[in-house]
């Protein structure tokens, strides 16, 4: 109830009280600029964090419960070894399905490095077999032993060797994004605190007059806090809109583009941007209130 009252008094305000603080000045522009810049940066940090999260999720989903068998053998033995490997896999507990990749699929895998017109059939390229696991999974060590005996050219890659560091890296990148958002929030608080202190110092005469005529500290604090909160809200809204516009100008995610072109917001992720101005306003409200109360007790 008290929170609702506080929010409504911030939005509706007191026209007379608003006029007590001189309307213009350096601190007004500083607050607006700082809030806009920080909101702009927050958009990118948020995009980085969300994209990293999606990447970690994708890598996890695509690579978990799957493995790849690579068969390197002379061309005349390749088909036989592939048949033998598929036969071993079909009889292995924990393997849900196994299939040999066709030429088109292998060409697509190599296209990012060699281009789309690679003559796969004329090159000594190993045959790949995609293995999908059951929920329980298979025993990779046991499978390797069987393959060693029956398909000498087969190498089992169960993805764990390189999936784990990739997922870890994506997780750290996501964490980095959130840390950046926290730092931006803290910096916003510091800048607004400095601006509020400068405004109070510049308006020492206003404070002296208000005290002389019987204004309570709460009244003076409210007058300054509302001014700074609304400035921060406006600045952050501008910064968020500009940041969102910049995100829209980034190239769209493409199959061959990899991670960087996937940097951006997807679906309801855009709604998170709406939080930025409000969170900035909350930071400004807390920072200005604390700065004003501290300055007023020093001026007492």
């Amino acid at each position: 109830m008290k929170l609702i009252k506080t929010i409504s008094s911030l939005i509706v305000g007191d026209v007379q009280a608003d006029r007590v603080v001189p309307p213009t000045g350096f601190t007004a522009r500083l607050t607006l600029f700082a809030a806009a810049t920080m909101a702009f940066l927050t958009v990118f940090a948020l995009a980085l964090s969300l994209a990293s999260g999606r990447l970690a999720q994708r890598w996890g989903d695509e690579l978990a419960q799957s493995a790849t068998l690579r068969i390197s053998a002379p061309a005349e033995q390749l088909d036989a070894q592939t048949e033998a490997a598929l036969s071993v896999l079909q009889s292995t507990p924990g393997v849900a399905s196994a299939r040999a990749l066709g030429d088109d699929e292998q060409r697509a895998l190599l296209a990012p490095w060699f281009g789309p017109d690679l003559p796969v059939d004329s090159l000594p390229i190993p045959q790949l077999i995609e293995i999908l696991e059951t929920d329980d999974g298979f025993d990779p060590a046991g499978l390797r032993l069987r393959l060693q005996a029956e398909v000498p050219g087969a190498v089992l890659d169960d993805h764990t060797r390189w999936r784990a560091p990739l997922e870890r890296a994506a997780g750290r990148l996501r964490l980095l994004g959130w840390v950046a958002i926290l730092l931006i929030g803290a910096t916003t608080g510091v800048m607004i605190t400095l601006a509020a202190q400068a405004a109070l110092a510049a308006n020492a005469q206003v404070v002296a007059v208000l005290r002389l005529i019987g204004a309570r500290d709460a009244y003076i604090v409210r007058a300054f806090v509302r001014r700074f909160t609304l400035r921060a809200l406006s600045g952050a809204a501008i910064g968020t809109v500009l940041g969102a516009g910049a995100m829209m100008l980034l190239p769209a995610a493409q199959e061959e583009g990899g991670f960087l072109t996937g940097l951006g917001f997807v679906g309801t992720g855009w709604l998170l941007l709406l939080l930025i101005p409000f969170l900035t306003a909350i930071v400004a409200y807390a920072a200005t209130g604390a700065a004003a109360r501290r300055t007023l007790s020093e001026l007492a």
Binding site: A17, V20, V206, A208, V209, L212, I213, G214, D217
Partner: protein, 225 residues
């Protein structure tokens, strides 16, 4: 109302005021005089709680100023109108808003505010200057505006620090007349001034006690004025 009991005030390592006792009775009229630098402004600040005595006790409306928090001071100041020599205003607000400021900060009803304000500005002869900004006002107009602001809350006490310091004789008579009128309405008045002519002129209109700060002490003056 305002009671000072054996107070002292030290400033800059030395004792500026010492062994001062005073009780302002309701409806009384006091002048406070003394040479420049004697401590008249400091004394007034002790009277409205802007300063706390270094010894003795100062009570505003029965409460010791040392026991009052900042809200308590704010509430006490709504009962004490203060006119400063330098007449500080909010320069970005028109005169009418400046004068109405005490009502604004205390959250008084806006209808009451408008009625009081118009009457008050006419009373101090500034009805035609309501929309002027403070820097556009003359010294006399600023003093009268400060007086209007000091009394708009209908305070019980009015403290004025050199209210005629920056105005000519005719304007100082006008201001004195306003203060006398306030006293007749029952307000307690304390005026700090070094202008003895003003005090002599006041004696024709009001029964005033004249106090003098001399050698850090407060004395009753009168016979020589």
């Amino acid at each position: 109302m305002i009671e000072l009991e054996n107070i002292a005030y030290n400033y800059g390592g030395g004792e500026l005021l010492s062994e001062i006792s005073l009780k302002l009775a309701p409806g009384s009229f006091h002048f406070l005089t003394g040479p420049s630098g004697a401590g008249k402004t400091t004394f007034l600040k002790l009277c409205y709680g802007a300063l706390a005595p270094t010894a003795g006790s100062a009570r505003l409306f029965g409460q010791d100023v040392r026991d009052m928090d900042r809200d308590g001071h704010a509430l006490a100041r709504r009962r004490i109108g203060v006119v400063h020599q330098d007449c500080q205003f909010l320069d970005h607000l028109p005169l009418a808003d400046n004068v109405a400021l005490p009502l604004t900060v205390s959250g008084r009803d806006s209808h009451e505010q408008v009625t009081n304000l118009e009457e008050l500005l006419s009373w101090v002869g500034l009805g035609h200057r309501a929309s002027a900004l403070p820097p556009e006002l003359s010294g006399g107009e600023r003093q009268r505006a400060a007086l209007a602001r000091a009394v708009i809350m209908s305070p019980e006490v009015v403290l004025a620090d050199e209210p005629t310091g920056n105005v000519d004789w005719e304007m100082s008579q006008r201001l004195l007349q306003l203060l006398v009128e306030l006293n007749r309405m029952g307000k307690t008045i304390l005026i700090a001034t070094h202008d003895l002519n003003l005090i002599r002129a006041a004696k024709h209109h009001v029964q005033a006690r004249v106090l003098r700060i001399s050698n850090r002490k407060l004395q009753l003056a009168g016979a020589d004025l």
